[in-house]
Symmetry: C2
Subunit: 397 residues, 2 copies
Amino acid sequence: MSADHPFLYQLFLIFVCAKLGGEIFERLRLPAVLGEILAGVIVGPYGLGLVVPTGAIKDVAEVGAIFLLFTVGLEIQPKDLLSVGPTSLYVALAGIAVPFVFGFSYMLLTQHSKPEATFVAAAMVATSVGVTARILGDLDLLHTQAARIILGAAVFDDILGLILLGVVGGLVSGNGGFWVQTLITSLEAVAFALIMMFYAPRVVRRIEPRLERMSMPNAPLIIALAICLGLSFAAAQIKMAAIVGAFFAGLAFAEHSPRWNLRPRVLAINDFLAPFFFFSMGAQLDIRVFDRSLFLSAIVVFLLAFLSKLIGCGLPVLRFGLKTAARVGMGMVPRGEVGLIVALSGLQMNAISERAYALVIFMTGVTTLVAPPLLKLLFQSERQPVPVGLEERPSAM
Amino acid sequence: MSADHPFLYQLFLIFVCAKLGGEIFERLRLPAVLGEILAGVIVGPYGLGLVVPTGAIKDVAEVGAIFLLFTVGLEIQPKDLLSVGPTSLYVALAGIAVPFVFGFSYMLLTQHSKPEATFVAAAMVATSVGVTARILGDLDLLHTQAARIILGAAVFDDILGLILLGVVGGLVSGNGGFWVQTLITSLEAVAFALIMMFYAPRVVRRIEPRLERMSMPNAPLIIALAICLGLSFAAAQIKMAAIVGAFFAGLAFAEHSPRWNLRPRVLAINDFLAPFFFFSMGAQLDIRVFDRSLFLSAIVVFLLAFLSKLIGCGLPVLRFGLKTAARVGMGMVPRGEVGLIVALSGLQMNAISERAYALVIFMTGVTTLVAPPLLKLLFQSERQPVPVGLEERPSAM
């Protein structure tokens, strides 16, 4: 059946299976992303073997990840960052630091290499606030103090997580000592992020009139796409992950996104390409690596990921009472696409093993499944019909 | 430079070069498509050799062609067809028949095989009305009788051209005698077209409420994309070109496109993917095949393509006077993406040689370059500041 047109065949089958998985999960009120990944596990080479993604599909999946992160970047405006209160900033910082330290220590203690420990720890860092925002939105609780802190912290969280991926990617390929290299690549990544957030939008503003005078239709979209591809390539060249470049490209255009109507159009490209990414992610997960010892490790990593966010993000708001601390902490527990992308980058750079990759997928899936019911429980007392005070932060998840 | 990330490197470079070529041509008031193709000729393997498209890029280019034709199909509503007057229909039919007969006869007379003759003739058939519509729009002449006839005929022209490609594709791979095979595949293609135009929209209408109740966001877009990919694959499986399936998928959703806001979102995907298609088209053109004899052939093919449309489309409207006949005929002269896609399909099916491919590209380019100034000349007497009476028909070109 697939002999003649393997690419078209895979394109069709993967798209349909991924979206079917997503739809089923949506109906179960679970994150669609997990359904798309599960479709890859089931239909992919380690499952039924109906689709063994070709090189071209993997390339398409990579472009899917690039557009996914471009979309995430497009949603974060520098002014959002400046308006986020110091509380959210502390929550974000502690919510990055604690999981990273926990993850890194555990991986080192269990005899993994430093690069592998770094990748897994980095994948434990980034909250995916989409799940939380949706639950709080459904419960009409986006106006609560805890919700505002969570949504604010999530903005920082994405940026810090991506900077961390830049650092980690640089580390794996660098020479020199581990800590020296860490310092250098951290500075590079932070400088890159600051330039893209504060300098690049000014450049965009300056070329704006020229852009709008260009002869081609949709010039702003075309230029944004070109810069997204260019920065992705540049990031890959300097050994950061390509998606870090795409994310920063998104930041540069975030300010102009509403005026140029970029977001819905980039989202359409995303709707088409992202399923290939999530499906491929599942297709690369060999469930047979889950022997007894790996399963135990996975449980430990999940618990560390869970507790470290709960504690890390709860502590900075403990002064508002234990209940608020628990709510904020729990709201930050779900991990998502950024962590998954970090793990996949690690796998593709040969920095982490299939077993470590499986750990991360497990951790991501379980945090996302476990947090929602607990979150509902924690917010239950608050539930009352009040108009929504804060817009739901749209998320790629 | 490109060693580490050939795919990302090519993605970036091709996108930028193609769009740059398009922008330069737009500024010269020439069709952007030709600029994108020329970028492929210049930068590609037969030119500077900066980009030698990998298999994955060729796959992306194929998806680009699929979305291009999906967009064309989305713009044609069955009710447009029914409302087109008989004059436009005759113009379209004669404008298909005369160039095909001219092209087919010439190719056979010059010792080409029947399949090759069929492909080249089929590529001479489809008018790209985008160029004409733009010129008439610029001159504020879309309200004239000639313009209305041209725009009406163009709707039919696309459909007939794509049916013809279905037939031609089927022919090349079929068994049995040439004429028997022609009959069978013609019937298949016409049946396919009729079903997609008149039955499929009814199915879409029936599943509409269920679609809008689906849990995933953007369900209509997702379903449309899935069906586009599925029909493309199906068409390729039954040996029609994949793009024929994509075009018919577009027809099925044309009626619902405004309600579901499909077109702008599919266009965004198109904006990203189509440049890879046009660039690849140029990259596969070896300009060194243009020796003296091929150049003479190319001139003849161009003249046949030019005169056959002028005569074929002019004759049915001769009763409105010679001036109107000349205007309608000239308006139908420019060829475009459909012809190019036919030629590329032929090349990929190994049905036509690199030389025949070069003939088609030459013919397409020159008809598109020659027609606009002549069209302006023919309409000059009519020019007067009148409000535009007919909406410009948007085109993928």
